[in-house]
């Protein structure tokens, strides 16, 4: 039996926050599987670099530089993108930020910004993308949650809340869009080697590592494998689920 090496050939994907880390890895993986990728990031040089990496390998990618937190702008940009690419099958809500602080000292802006990008951003993008997916009776929406939504993390009440919110959003949207053969799932990574986790102080890192049965952080490419799996046409019976990717840090 021949394996189709480009199962996403002819499909179009929008990956938010794809200028670096997990987002970039996902964009590259989806391209590898044959998709045309729209790379979104607020960091234009980083986003354009992801596009270049894809084009250097003979792929097709476009850069779009909007903030997922701006509702109206997202609706307009996604509509433009759908016209430009003549469709959209895959949305990966990956754009996310941290504004760490213990809650008793957290400023309202730190709370609001994280919710706005991480959670409301996912709403804004899913709202826009669901239109064409419902029309075509096909879609894959994947959002990034986090192990901290399950374990909690001191200093990250805002981040953890936004990532837990992604789970409720994923489950509800999965139920709404199921009649249209659109699957909606989430991925909850643990400690992954990216710019976001580079900032973790050494002592804390050592502590976390002790609790990871596999004894190492994960790689962005490993998260991308899970995202790619969920995007496959063959994964159409998996919906409303959270795939945990944490080296055994949390078993659930």
């Amino acid at each position: 039996m021949l394996m189709n090496s480009k199962p996403l050939s002819g499909q179009r994907a929008l990956v938010t926050g794809a200028g670096q880390g997990i987002g970039r890895a996902i964009a590259l993986k989806l391209f590898e599987l044959g998709a045309k990728v729209a790379v979104n990031d607020l960091n234009e040089p980083a986003g354009k670099e992801t596009v270049s990496l894809i084009e250097a390998k003979g792929g097709c990618a476009v850069f779009c530089g909007f903030s997922v937190a701006e509702y109206q702008r997202v609706q307009e940009e996604v509509k433009k993108l759908e016209k430009e690419l003549a469709g959209l099958e895959i949305l990966v809500n990956n754009a996310g930020i941290t504004r760490d602080q213990i809650l008793p000292r957290m400023k309202p802006e730190q709370w609001q910004e994280v919710i706005a990008v991480n959670l409301t951003g996912a709403f804004n993008c899913a709202r826009a993308a669901s239109r064409v997916m419902v029309k075509r009776h096909y879609g894959r929406i994947i959002s990034l949650s986090s192990v901290v939504a399950y374990l909690g993390q001191a200093g990250q009440a805002n981040y953890a809340a936004s990532k837990a919110g992604i789970i409720g959003l994923t489950r509800s949207l999965a139920l709404e869009l199921a009649p249209y053969q659109i699957t909606v799932n989430a991925i909850a990574p643990g400690l992954i080697e990216t710019a976001m986790t580079e900032k973790i102080p050494e002592a804390m890192r050592k502590e976390i590592m002790k609790r990871i049965p596999l004894g190492r952080p994960g790689r962005p490419e490993e998260v991308a494998e899970a995202a790619a799996f969920l995007c496959l046409p063959g994964s159409g019976y998996i919906t409303g689920q959270v795939i945990h990717l944490n080296g055994g840090l949390y078993l659930g």
């Binding site: 239109r131 419902v134 029309k135 709404e176 009649p179 249209y180």
Partner: protein, 82 residues
């Protein structure tokens, strides 16, 4: 073809509605038992059929079959080519 007939045609084609119940005064959700998602999909289908876009604000206006007919007629007229 009359827009009115085409709209009712689309409703019968795409929603699980008995022909006798598909009267202009029928309220999609209250009388025909249509879900919000199905109603929204119907609007998307009408967008494609009549080649127009229904902005979010206008969605509120479409609660009954007559609302849908009126809305489309306002946008494209009472008749469309067959």
């Amino acid at each position: 073809m009359l827009v009115k007939d085409r709209v009712i045609g689309l409703i019968l084609e795409h929603l699980e509605v008995e022909k006798e119940k598909a009267v202009p005064e029928a309220h999609f959700i209250d009388d025909l038992g249509i879900s919000s998602m199905d109603l929204w999909e119907l609007v998307l289908i009408m967008e494609d059929e009549f080649n127009l876009e229904v902005p979010d604000e206008d969605l509120e206006k479409i609660q009954t079959i007559q609302n849908a007919i009126n809305y489309i007629e306002q946008r494209v007229g009472k008749e469309i080519p067959d």
